[in-house]
């Protein structure tokens, strides 16, 4: 893992105040009666060559952030600078020219490959769109890419259904790499794969990052994979970032109560430790993003909720060097609860493990 406290180089990706509202239309006249606030005021930066992990539970807006950054959706507000250029303000023809720098790897490798195209034509599609190379050169590049992702060149003429999940994901990665991008959004690239294959794909992504100097936005709900891969981690809850921190510190000492709960759910391979750990079981459901709570979005489920949380929405502020949290526990000078952090602070909630054994 890299040194995280060192001065960050000029960021390759800068996201400021990104908002993605999906309008709700009701009635006969399809009147605009509200918005699903899938992403509400998200800001972060990713320095070149680094990986930002974006974690959170299903429906919290992780994938929407990834797609809005690449302008696969038209965001409601905000700026997304990639190499200093605001992607959200580009006219269509300039956006098309910009596409080669930013690419995406999709969650479901079965669905993200056209079943009627051969592997060669799938990987060559970006080349068809953005280069005027002769056919032989395109074919050569396709073979190079197959080598790079560890697939046999003989597979070029086959169709996606002839491959396993891991191989299909490699095809998806090869397609994303075809135009030498600088920034790749990995939208849960391992969620649909077997555990045994996940490691292979993650290692491939790491190797490629090292070789090609790629910058990743790695969206996942698998916290242990993010820990392995990411230099910094952003935890999202209901369309907002709850905590943004370098990964070592976040995993050692999670600050936001939601992060604490999330980390306590990670499986522990050692049965001794597993029996001893304190699971924080959150009660209730995630509120609807169409009608989020007035104050902190997490106030309906937070074990440490107090009055201010229900009224005032906390901003994402830096509480330690390189660590930002959106929680009133850390902005209120008088409240010292945050300083204990970790699991200990919550030990009164859940004394037993899942088997009900207390140690």
């Amino acid at each position: 893992m890299r040194d995280l406290t060192a001065d960050a180089p000029q960021p390759l990706v800068r996201v400021e105040g990104l908002k993605m509202y999906f309008p709700i239309r009701t009635g006969l006249l399809r009147q605009h009666t509200g918005d699903v606030k899938a992403v509400d005021d998200v800001s972060f930066t990713i320095p070149a060559g680094e990986t930002l992990g974006l974690v959170g539970e299903s429906g919290c807006g992780k994938s929407t952030v990834g797609r809005a950054i690449l302008r696969l959706y038209e965001p409601t507000a905000g700026r997304v600078e990639i190499e200093g250029e605001d992607v959200l303000a580009l006219p269509p023809n300039r956006l098309r020219k910009k596409r080669p720098t930013m690419q995406m790897v999709f969650q479901d490798p079965q669905a993200s490959l056209n079943p009627r195209m051969t592997v060669a034509s799938i990987i060559a599609e970006p080349l068809e769109e953005h280069t005027d190379w002769p056919r032989a050169r395109k074919t050569e590049r396709v073979y190079e890419l197959l080598d790079a992702v560890g697939l046999n060149r003989r597979f070029a003429n086959r169709y996606p259904h002839e491959f396993s999940g891991g191989q299909r994901q490699r095809i998806g990665i090869a397609r994303a790499l075809a135009l030498n991008p600088k920034f790749i959004v990995c939208d849960e690239p391992i969620a649909a794969l077997d555990v045994s294959i996940q490691a292979q794909v993650v290692n491939l992504l790491e190797d490629l990052q090292e070789k090609l100097g790629l910058t990743y936005l790695f969206i996942s709900h698998d916290l242990s994979m993010v820990r392995h891969l990411a230099t910094r981690v952003a935890v999202m809850y209901l369309g907002r970032i709850a905590e943004l921190s370098n990964s070592a510190a976040l995993y050692a000492n999670p600050l936001h109560p939601y992060t604490q709960a999330l980390l306590s759910a990670v499986n522990e391979p050692d049965p001794e430790l597993a029996a001893r750990r304190n699971r924080i079981i959150l009660t209730g459901d995630v509120p609807s993003p169409a009608n989020p709570p007035a104050g902190c979005t997490f106030c309906t489920r937070c074990p440490k909720v107090f009055d201010r949380c229900r009224i005032e929405r906390p901003d994402l502020v830096e509480v330690e060097p390189g660590r930002q949290v959106a929680c009133h526990l850390y902005t209120e000078k008088t409240n010292q609860a945050g300083s204990t952090g970790g699991f200990g602070a919550l030990s009164h909630r859940q004394q037993t493990n899942q088997q009900g054994v207390s140690r």
Binding site: L72, A111, R116, T118, E125, P126, N157
Partner: protein, 305 residues
């Protein structure tokens, strides 16, 4: 990595498709039947030169040659005014097949275009689908009759009696039978459009027109193919109805549909009904099987199994 020299170059898709198509027995039989029918109507008249349209001016001879059974001079017999049925079948087939294929082509073309536009571009969806509903709610046969009645004369004056009638019939049938295709295609496009590979293509920067031709159209092909094969039969039958009602080709000009109709009114000789009926059935059946084989051959998940 494997040695680069042993790797075959990217194969042609159409060679794979043909290999799979050949493996489909029904499709191959259908293809041969269709080729036989085409040869029969196109090459046949070169060898079988009996008069198909004009009635023998010698009334006595004409009366003697009416409604004959099969013989060496008239292998399929003669009709109620003494014309050779085989010659009429050849000439009529040319028209019927042309009407069937071209009208089906027009219907599929218009239907696919409207279906894809409605399915892919949300802004157009409502307008185009209401237009489709409007066409569906029209009584088609009276509409066709009015259409041919109003514009048939202009077309006949422009292109000659037979070609003019052909154009107006093909246009009329095509423009009144695209609605079901449009609906099927729209539904399929709506489903395919949400698949991740379309999103992937957009993230690459593929423009909409190529997303449609490269990713969406190949994936909505199967239902279009089925609709097309059924459309041919419909077009042939509709043409015969029009001719029967006096708004199609002139009564002495044979088509399979009109031959069937005249034979139906001359029921003492049912054998005259068999031949045009058989020809229409064979055409529809063979096209149906070809469509079936083509659909399988174009699907890589079935191909090679």
């Amino acid at each position: 990595m494997t040695d680069a020299t042993v790797i075959e170059a990217p194969r042609s898709l159409w060679l794979d498709v043909w290999a799979q198509f050949r493996a489909h027995r029904g499709a191959m039989v259908g293809l041969f039947v269709l080729i036989f029918l085409l040869l029969f109507v196109l090459v046949g008249p070169l060898f079988w030169t009996k008069e198909p349209i004009l009635v023998n001016s010698n009334t006595a001879q004409m009366f003697k040659s009416r409604n004959l059974g099969a013989s060496l001079t008239n292998p399929l017999g003669t009709d109620q005014v003494g014309r050779d049925i085989m010659a009429r079948l050849m000439l009529g087939g040319k028209v019927s097949l042309a009407v069937g294929f071209v009208a089906m082509g027009v219907a599929i073309g218009v239907g696919t275009l409207i279906g894809v536009l409605a399915g892919y571009f949300r802004a157009l969806d409502n307008a185009l689908m209401r237009l489709t509903d409007m066409f569906l709610s029209l009584p088609l046969l009276p509409l066709l009759l009015v259409l041919v009645y109003l514009y048939g004369g202009v077309m006949r004056a422009e292109f000659g009696p037979n070609l003019g009638t052909f154009f107006i019939i093909v246009a009329g049938i095509g423009l009144t039978s695209w609605m079901h295709v449009a609906r099927i295609v729209r539904g399929q496009v709506l489903a395919v459009k949400e698949r991740e590979f379309v999103l992937a293509a957009r993230s690459i920067g593929t423009p909409s027109r190529r997303i449609i031709t490269r990713h969406i159209l190949p994936n909505v092909l199967s239902p279009v193919m089925v609709a097309a094969t059924l459309g041919i039969a419909n077009a042939i039958i509709t043409e015969s109805v029009l001719s029967f009602l006096g708004q199609g080709f002139q009564p002495d000009f044979p088509t399979w549909g009109s031959m069937l109709n005249y034979a139906y009114n001359n029921q003492s000789y049912p054998v005259q009904m068999i031949w045009p009926g058989l020809a229409i059935s064979l055409t529809v059946l063979s096209v149906n099987y070809i469509g079936d084989g083509l659909r399988d051959a174009l699907d890589p998940r079935i191909r090679g199994r």
